[in-house]
Amino acid sequence: MHLKIDDVDVDVPAGTTVKEAAMQSGIRIPGLCDYSGLKPYGGCRLCLVEIEGIRGFPSSCTMPVNEGMVVRTGTPALLDLRKSILEMLLSEHPSNCLTCERAGRCDEAREPMRKVPQTMGCRYCPKDQRCALQETVELVGLEKVELPHIGSSKQVVHSPFFDRDPNLCILCGRCVRACEERFAGAISFIFRGFEAGIGTAFEKPLEEVGCRFCGACVDVCPTGALAERAGRWTGPSSNVVLTTCPFCSANCQIGLEVAGGKLLRVASVGNNLCVRGRFGTGFVQDPSRLKLPLVRKNGKLVEAGWDEALAVAAEGLARYTGEQFTAITSGVCTNEALYLVQKFASKVMNSVAVAPDAISSGIKPEDLISADSVLVVGDLAETNPVTGLALRSAKNLVVVSPLKTDLAGASSTWLAPVPGQEASVLVALNRAISNDDPDLNGLGVNEEEIRNVAPLLAGATVVIGPDCCTDVVVAASRLAKALKGRLVVLGTNCNSQGASILGMGRDYQETIQAIFQGKIKAAYIMGSNPARAMPELVEPLSGLEFLVVQDIFLTETAKLASVVFPAAGFDEVDGTYSGPGGELLRLKKAVEPLARSRPDWQITAELAIKMGAVGFDFEGPESVLDEMQAQPAQNQADLESYVLKVPEEPSDNAHFILTACPSLYSFGSGTRTSRIPDLRYLTRERWTEVNPEDAKSLGISSGDGIVLESNKGSIKAVSRISRRVPRGVLRIDLQSDLDMIMDGRVCNVGVKRDV
C-alpha cells in the first residue's frame, strides 16, 4: 500500500499500522503503550497523528494504513497536544528528575538517594537510563510539568525475581498483554478510577495465579514499575552478548548484559524465554563457585595450583586404563568439551565416555513449529516451556498426559491415561492404525477416543518430552514409523543433542552397572553430578580408587573426588551446542573465567598432554570444533531391539496414584537452580497437587501438611489444590530423595493429614 507520511512516500503491506509505517521510513512517533509483538491497545494517546479526510487525531498505533493516505505526524497542533497528554500522564508519575534542569548531572548525590524507600524521581529508579518515559519526554520536548502532582503511595508488591511499584505505573497495559501472549493471564487491570492498577485476583501472590515467572511483563514495561531485582542499581549495560541458554533443549538465545567486565543481568532478545533463562543463570555468580583446583591430602580436599592438580590427576589416572576407567559427562557441556573428553577416554584411557542424557533426536526448530499435526507426550510447560508455547499453534494438537498440562488444555484432543500408562496408549494408537484391536484394559482411555484420533494422526510429528521413560520413547518411535511421521525426542539438557550425536548414550547403562559392581576403579566426571541425581551412587562412587571431577561447584560428586578442577561458567567460554536439528548454536564469552577457573575443553586437553598424549594441542575451541566435525558419524542408541515393559497394574489397596514430574523451577538434579534464591523459594515445600474434589473429601485445603504412604515408606508433604491433576492422582515435583517412597516415577499411596 502506498501512503504519504510527512511528505515522504511510503510503501508497506496492508495490515501495517500507520505508526509502524512511519517507523519503517525513519519517522519517529512517540508512544508508550504500543510494543512490537503485542496487540495494539491505543491507551496512551501519545501517538496521535493527523490524517487527511479523517476528523480529529486518530492514534497511529491502532490505525491500519489505507491506500493513498496522507499523514502528518508533527503539526504544531499535534506537538502541543502530545505535550499536554504527556504532562497529564506525568502528573501521576514522579517527574522531578524527568524535567530537572540538572538532569544527568547530579551524580554526587545519587547513591544515598537510592536508599530512599520510595522512588521519587529517575535517579531513585531502577530503570534510570533504560526507561521509555525518559526517552519520550525528550522526544516530545516536554520541559515542565505544571499540573499539580497527584502523588500516590501504593504498596510495592514484591514477587520472586521482580518487584511491582504501582506508583510508577502508567497503566499502558503492556505487561497485561505480554502475559496474555504467554497464555498465563496472571495479571489484569483491576479496579477503576483512582484505584485502578495492575494486579492479580484478590491480590494473591503471582505464583498462585498461574504466573510462571517468564519475565515477559518486565521486558515490556516502559517504566520502573516492573523491574527485576538482579542488577537493580547497576544502570545500563555497555554491551549485550548474544549467547545460548545453558538449561533445556529449547536452546533459546539470551542476551547477557555486561558492563565493566561484569555480568549485570539477562535480557530477552525479543524472543520468549522461561524463568530459567531469564532469571536463573545467576548461578555463575554464586559465591560458592570453585576458584582453584583442589587435591585430596590426608583425606581432605585442599586448594592447589593447576600444575600440581594436573600432575596428581595425570599420575592417578594413568594407573587405570581400559575397562577399569570411565568418563561421565552430560549434555550440559559444550560440543568442544564433550568431544575432547570422549577423545581423552578413547585415545588416552582406552575406554569410553558416557552421558546419561544422550537420548535426543530432533528436527530443526522451524520444522517442528510449522508441523500441522503434532502428538505430544510429557509436560513441556515444565521441561521445555518455550517449545511448549510454540506447539500451541499446531493445527491438530493431540496430547497424551495423565495431567491437564498447559498443552493438554490447549489441545484439540487430550487422551488422559492413568499415570504410567502413556506408552501403552501409544501402543494402542499404533494398533488402531493398523486396524488391530487396541488393548485398553486399565489404561483409563476408552476405545472410542483412540479410534477417533488415530486417523487424524497420519504424518504427524510425535514429540516426546525429556520427562518420558524409555518405554515411551520406544513406543513413540514405532508409532511415528507407522504414521509415516517424524519422531522428536527432546533432550534433557541444552546439548543433549551434542552428546547424542557423539554416541555417548550407548554404553551409559552398562557403565553405571559396572560402577555398582565395583568393576570400575577410576573415573573422570565432567559437568555431571550423579551423586545428587542418584543418591544410591554415592557409596559406589566413594569406593572408587581414583576420581577426578570437573565442575563449577563443589558438587555432591566433587566432594568424593581425589582431584577437583574448577571449570569456567557458560558465560565465560566460547563454544557450541548442537541444536535439535544438529545445527550449531553459539556460546559466546561475555566475561573472563572466574578466578583461576578454565574452560572445560582446555582442562581436558591439558590433562591429556600431562599424560603424554599427542593430538591435544589446540589453539582454541574453534580448532576443537573443526576436528570434531571432520569425524565420521557415530552409531546411535538402538531403539529397535528394545522390549517394552509391561507396566504394573496399579493396585487398589491404596487410594491414590502418585506421579513424580519434573518442575520448571528445579532443573535436572538442581545443582544449578538450587543456587538461585528465588527458585529455591518457589520450591521451598514438597508440594503435592491434589484435585479440588479429592481435597474436599479428604478434608484438606491448600497448604495443609499431609503424609504420603506407600509400600516402601512414607514422607511428609504439603498439599496444594490444583485443577491440573485428575481425581485419584497426586502430582509431586521430582526430587532425588523420593526414593524413600517410590522406585520409579509412579506409585500407589495413601494420604492422610499430618497431625
Binding site: 496472571a186 483491576i190 485476583a201 495465579v209 498461574g210
Partner: protein
C-alpha cells in the same frame, strides 16, 4: 462451585459475553463474589482468575467480600458528595479500619459506597442494614455504628 457455575452457564446463550451474567448470578445467590467463584468462572470460561477479578472490580455493582453482619452503605451520589459524603466515608473507613469494599476481619461490618440512595433531599446519607440515615455529620455516622457494635 464449578458445578453451580456450569448450571448457570446452561441458561445463557453461550460462553461469549457470559462473564457479567455469571458474576451477577453468583452475586444474587451468594450475596457476593467469592474467591472460589472467581476461580470456577475462570475455569468454566477458559479465562484466568485475574481477568475475572479485573472485570468484577471494574463494576461497582459487584461485591468481592463476604458481607458483614451489618452492611454500611455510604452514598457518594453528586448531592451527597457535595454535602460531605466523602468525609462520612473517610471517617467510617478509619474507625472500622477497612477501605470501602471490604469487611472487617471479625466479619461484623462491611463498608461500601453507592451511587444514589434516592434521598438526595436529606444528603449526606448512609444506609445501615437497609435503614437510611440522613443529614449526617461524620461524628453522628460514627456514633450510629458504635451503637450497633455494643
Amino acid at each position: 462451585m464449578e458445578a453451580k457455575i456450569r448450571a448457570l452457564l446452561e441458561e445463557l446463550p453461550g460462553k461469549e459475553g457470559a462473564l457479567i451474567p455469571l458474576l451477577q448470578g453468583v452475586q444474587s445467590t451468594l450475596g457476593y463474589i467469592s474467591q472460589d467463584a472467581v476461580e470456577a468462572i475462570g475455569e468454566v470460561l477458559g479465562i484466568s482468575e485475574s481477568e475475572v477479578y479485573g472485570v468484577a472490580t471494574f463494576y461497582s455493582e459487584f461485591r468481592l467480600f463476604e458481607p458483614g453482619e451489618h452492611q454500611v452503605k455510604v452514598c457518594l451520589g453528586t448531592s451527597c458528595y457535595l454535602k460531605g459524603g466523602r468525609e462520612l466515608l473517610e471517617r467510617l473507613s478509619r474507625s472500622l479500619g477497612i477501605p470501602p469494599g471490604r469487611t472487617t476481619p471479625d466479619g461484623r461490618f462491611s463498608l461500601e459506597t453507592v451511587a444514589c440512595l434516592g434521598c438526595c433531599s436529606r444528603s449526606p446519607v448512609m444506609a445501615v442494614d437497609g435503614v437510611v440515615y440522613g443529614n449526617l455529620t461524620p461524628l453522628q455516622a460514627k456514633a450510629i455504628i458504635a451503637d450497633l457494635d455494643e
